[in-house]
């Protein structure tokens, strides 16, 4: 409102701060406030989803049923997946986008600030709806985060309806967030900030946003078809009524495969910011990085049925999806080679953001290797739906997406709150997470190859040892995240003051503003040369 009034005391207006109390957070249109809310919300969901993971790991610590019944176990696997994907990883990246994209392209705020507020405030209601099902008669959704029909339609608990509306709301939130990111990047760059000068984090988010707009409606479509099957007597996925259960999987994975890139591309961007900073050397192959991300995004639309090699597709279909999937290794390889060449003959230091980024490159690559193995259709018949797959996608999501988020938080936290975190505590967080995570997920490769299916509450005796190790690792990893919470709060309250530059080798517009970043930045656009 006041923006259109010609205010004589212009300076005061420029520097006015946030309103006080709860109203600041409810009605804010400030990209920094909204970014912070997204980040805190996603961390809360990370802990909730983590508790569910620990319930699963506690039950699997030993053979036999000890703590939970199979029905509740299935609810835990389902809710853990849904909450981590839609509640922890995706909102965390949207939070980073909110904080950093305007500051990196020299814009005063996001292009659509009111929509920005709305897209955040939908989320607590969506997850409130989803989590409330845990306390309802019949229990929470129990059909896996991939909710294959007809287990999720004809045979689902009544709470499936809450799940469907929750997913609709998350989808609306994501689409609005994506529109906002695209509008900001395409319209609000500072003079001189051409597309091919944009930082890679901005590039990866631009491409991610297009993926979101393309596939979230597909997810909305598939859950709406489920809703029709459950409540209105249609038979989209019910063979008894002439429907097709395999159709569900095609639609779901047409959303689901780009979705996995939605969760990893922004992490590619984060790492591409951090590695040059701590190597004190420009990013190697900027152009090929941009093209590689774009190729990965395009390829992600034509590989979906590699999740379905065992459904009985015709031979030609199997071959097509096998070749297309193998092709993704090429641009992904280019990215890894570029990161390593950036480090080569640099002047390296290993503060927490760099530690997480280096671990990202190594462990994500291991996840990529197992992905390449899974692409080989005949071998996939052996790997499919075993713990090998669980190991694979946790290797790309935990040290991939989650380590990317940790790296980003350590890297930009001093800019956000004007204070440094404690480096020794952060290093402890890194090493405990690193050890815990590998202990939890590496043995799963062996379990899967030896024949343990995923999503089972109890297992045959030959799987006992590796399951115990995995559970110990999971608890180490989980407990370590409380240390992260403590050290972030400690930094915000009483950390050492940070300089504006923060990191010696950091480059980019965000480092030209003071630390902490003022409530409004770049009200006058900077000039980029």
């Amino acid at each position: 409102m006041s923006a259109v009034i010609d205010n004589p005391s212009h300076d005061d207006h420029e520097h006015h701060g946030p309103t006080k109390g709860i109203a600041r957070w409810l009605f804010t249109t400030n990209h920094k406030d909204i970014g912070s809310m997204y980040l805190w919300f996603s961390f809360a969901m990370f802990l909730v989803g983590g508790c569910m993971a620990l319930t699963i790991r506690a039950e699997l610590f030993q053979p036999g049923l000890q703590l939970v019944e199979p029905e509740f176990f299935n609810q835990m696997t389902t809710m853990h997946g849904l909450i981590m994907v839609f509640g922890a990883v995706m909102p965390a990246f949207v939070g980073l986008a909110n904080w950093m994209i305007p500051m990196m392209v020299g814009a005063p705020d996001m292009a659509l600030p009111r929509m920005n507020n709305w897209s955040f405030w939908i989320l607590p209601f969506a997850f409130g709806l989803l989590l409330s099902t845990l306390f309802m008669e019949g229990g929470a959704p129990n059909f896996g985060w991939t909710f294959y029909a007809p287990l999720s339609t004809t045979y689902a608990p009544d709470t499936v309806t809450y799940f469907i509306f929750g997913v609709h709301m998350m989808g609306i939130s994501s689409i609005m967030g994506a529109i906002n990111v695209i509008a900001t990047i395409l319209n609000m760059r500072a003079p001189g900030m051409t597309l091919m000068k944009m930082p890679l984090f901005v590039w990866t988010w631009l491409i991610t946003a297009f993926l979101l707009i393309a596939v979230m409606p597909v997810l909305a479509g598939v859950v709406t078809m489920m809703l029709m099957d459950v409540h209105f007597g249609t038979s989209f996925f019910d063979a008894a009524g002439g429907g097709d259960p395999v159709l569900f999987q095609h639609i779901f994975w047409f959303f689901g495969h780009p979705e996995v890139y939605i969760m990893i591309l922004p992490a590619f961007g984060v790492v591409s910011q951090i590695i040059p900073t701590f190597s004190r050397k420009p990013l190697f192959g900027y152009h090929s990085m941009v093209y590689a991300v774009a190729s990965i995004a395009i390829l992600s639309f034509i590989v979906w049925a590699h999740h379905m090699f065992t459904v009985g597709m015709p031979l030609a279909g199997e071959l097509f999806f096998m070749y297309a999937t193998m092709l993704i290794a090429v641009p992904t390889g280019v990215k890894v080679f570029n990161w390593i060449t950036t480090m080569f003959r640099g002047s390296l230091t290993f503060e927490a953001p760099m530690l997480f980024s280096v671990a990202f490159v190594v462990l994500f690559t291991i996840g990529g290797f197992s992905g390449l193995m899974l692409a080989i259709a005949p071998s996939d018949f052996q790997y499919h739906d075993t713990y090998f797959v669980v190991a694979h996608f946790h290797y790309v999501l935990v040290p991939g997406a989650i380590f990317g988020i940790f790296a980003a938080v350590y890297y930009w936290l001093p800019k956000w709150c004007g204070r440094m975190y404690s480096e020794p505590l952060a290093k402890a967080h890194f090493w405990l997470s690193f050890i815990g995570m590998n202990l939890a997920f590496f043995p799963m490769h062996f379990l899967g190859l030896a024949g343990m299916p995923r999503r089972i509450p109890d297992y045959a005796l030959q799987f006992a040892d590796f399951n115990s190790i995995s559970s110990v690792g999971a608890f180490i990893f989980g407990a370590t995240q409380l240390l992260f919470l403590y050290l972030v709060i400690k930094a915000i309250r009483s950390g050492e003051p940070a300089t504006d530059q923060v990191w010696e080798g950091a480059e980019g517009l965000e480092w030209t503003v003071s630390s902490p970043a003022p409530y409004h930045t770049f009200s006058t656009p900077p000039e980029v040369k």
């Binding site: 259960p245 031979l315 090429v330 690559t365 005949p378 052996q382 062996f446 045959a460 590796f466």
Partner: protein
């Protein structure tokens, strides 16, 4: 320094090699007992070693930089950030590796898809939570349920060697013959898997998927359902006994005899005690997973049978529910799964157990009459 690096590398490699040879300790994929499973294993090991080789090179360069190019060691950053030649090389080389990998993979896949000229055809149907095996053209048709007792699962008894991987009726097939599987499901999606055969195929309602195997060595091979199919997904193992042709023929003949004998039973009448005894067994195998051994069920998904209208009063409705199932729920139609004798016994059991005490004795003829109505 160099010798230390070599030593560390060789140690790492020997650890990986050890992992390879100790397949029997459950670290690696089993090599299996069919030609296809051998091809799959070879593919798996080839791609694994390719990944290891790439990993050694890539991580080698990375760790070299991490140790050599540290600021603390006085490393000064160079400024190079582009080199078209090397970027083209590291795009082309992976493409060549992938093409080399795709050729044997395609060959194996084509073989796996050739289901022609089978010697034995077996239809496999997934149910919540058991498998049904029908030997097409021979009249042999039976269910295979997990036989691990609840006491072992709930840690009241010591777990046996084949814990969760044992069934009441194994699938029996002849060695060295091409066996074609026709795989489908009755309710939700299941997936039939034997690692040693490298056969995994989804069982999908409304679809009949095909797969085949030719097993080289007699023995007992175990696997599990590998598609989440509800509550007892972890408790529906697949067990296959592979025997010589002559033994297989004897077994098949014996199964055909049993089927005839079961049909004879329908003509007899039984006392309430006999019915209760038979019914309790049928209930334990087919009903207890959902309705629980004490009949209380797990409401609301799986209703209680104790003192309800249907279980104590409405006999016709009771028969209807058991024979035809309840549409849109987990209650299956048992009319095609159990014999009339077993259905009569289990209904009698349900009407007299847990204090229901109706005194009703339902006969096989009642079930036949209902079916003919």
């Amino acid at each position: 320094m160099r010798s230390r690096l070599v030593k560390a590398l060789s140690l790492l490699l020997s650890a990986i090699y050890a992992a390879d040879v100790s397949a029997e300790y459950g670290l690696n994929m089993p090599r299996g007992v069919t030609d296809i499973s051998h091809s799959v294993y070879d593919l798996h090991m080839t791609i694994f070693w390719i990944c290891v080789a790439i990993g050694v090179v890539v991580f080698g360069v990375m760790f070299y930089s991490i140790f050599k190019h540290r600021k603390s060691k006085g490393a000064v950053a160079s400024n190079f950030h582009e080199n078209t030649t090397i970027e083209i090389i590291w795009t082309i080389v992976p493409v060549i590796i992938l093409v080399v990998m795709a050729i044997p993979a395609t060959k194996t896949l084509v073989e796996m898809y050739d289901t022609s000229d089978a010697d034995v055809d077996i239809k496999i149907t997934g149910y919540q939570w058991k498998w049904r095996y029908e030997y097409l053209g021979s009249g042999v048709d039976f269910f295979s349920n997990m036989s691990t007792p609840k006491e072992e699962i709930y840690n009241a008894q010591e777990k046996n060697e084949n814990y969760l991987l044992e069934v009441d009726n194994e699938l029996v097939v002849p060695v060295g013959k091409k066996i074609r599987f026709l795989i489908t499901a009755n309710d939700v999606i299941h997936s039939w898997w034997i690692p040693d055969f490298a056969v995994k195929k989804d069982a999908i309602p409304g679809f009949i998927n095909e797969s085949w195997t030719r097993i080289n060595e007699p023995g007992v091979y175990r696997g599990q359902c590998t598609e989440l199919c509800g509550k007892d997904h972890g408790f529906m193992p697949v067990v296959v006994r592979v025997v010589e042709q002559s033994e297989y023929d004897d077994w098949l003949a014996q199964k055909q005899e049993e089927a005839k004998a079961a049909a004879e039973l329908a003509k007899l009448t039984f006392t309430l005690e006999e019915q209760m005894e038979r019914g309790e067994k049928v209930y334990a195998t087919n009903c207890a997973a959902c309705h629980q051994p004490n009949g209380q069920g797990i409401p609301p998904a799986f209703p209680s049978l104790v003192g309800t209208e249907i279980a104590t009063k409405l006999l016709d409705k009771h028969i209807e529910v058991v024979v035809d199932g309840v549409a849109g729920s987990a209650m299956q139609a048992y009319g095609g799964q159990l014999s009339e004798v077993d259905i009569a016994a289990v209904i009698t059991y349900e009407r007299n157990a847990w204090g229901n005490d109706t005194g009703d004795n339902v006969s096989a003829k009642d079930i036949v009459d209902y079916k003919n109505k």
